[in-house]
Symmetry: C2
Subunit: 78 residues, 2 copies
C-alpha cells in the first residue's frame, strides 16, 4: 500500500476567480505581502503497490483533472 | 519572494462524498487497486520574504480552511 498525492491546478493562462478572491481579500483583512493566490484540488489516494505510474497518470488525466484547463502533478509519498 | 503551498483536507472523521464518488467509480471504469480517495484543496501563494510562518498559519486557519472540519499543512517551496 502506498499513499499517492495528486495536485491539480488551473493552467497558468486560465483565470482563477477563487484564488483571485482570496488574494484580493487578504490586504483588506490586514495581511500584506501576498501577491498571488491560486486554488486547485488536492487528492490523496490509497494505492496498491501493483498500480504503476502510467495507471496513476491515466486516472489523473481522466478523472481527477480536466486536461484542457488544468495541470496535475502525481507524487508518491514514502 | 517565496512560493508557499497550503494543502487543506477534510479531517479523517469527516465524510468526503467527492472523494468517495471517485473511489467508487474507479473500479467500474477498469481501475483496480485504489482503496481510498480523499479530496481537498491545494493553494499556491506568492509570498513576500517578510511574511512569517505564524502569519501563514493565521491565513490558512482563517481564510483557506474551515478548522472545524478541515486540517491544513503549510509548506514553503525552495
Amino acid at each position: 500500500m502506498a499513499r499517492v498525492v495528486v495536485d491539480v491546478m488551473p493552467k497558468p493562462e486560465i483565470l482563477d476567480p477563487q484564488g483571485q478572491a482570496v488574494a484580493n481579500a487578504l490586504p483588506r483583512l490586514g495581511f500584506t505581502g501576498i501577491s498571488d493566490v491560486r486554488q486547485g484540488k488536492h487528492f490523496e489516494l490509497e494505492v496498491d503497490d501493483s498500480v504503476d505510474d502510467e495507471t496513476l497518470a491515466k486516472i489523473a488525466i481522466g478523472f481527477l483533472s480536466n486536461p484542457v484547463i488544468e495541470d496535475f502533478v502525481v507524487r508518491r509519498l514514502s
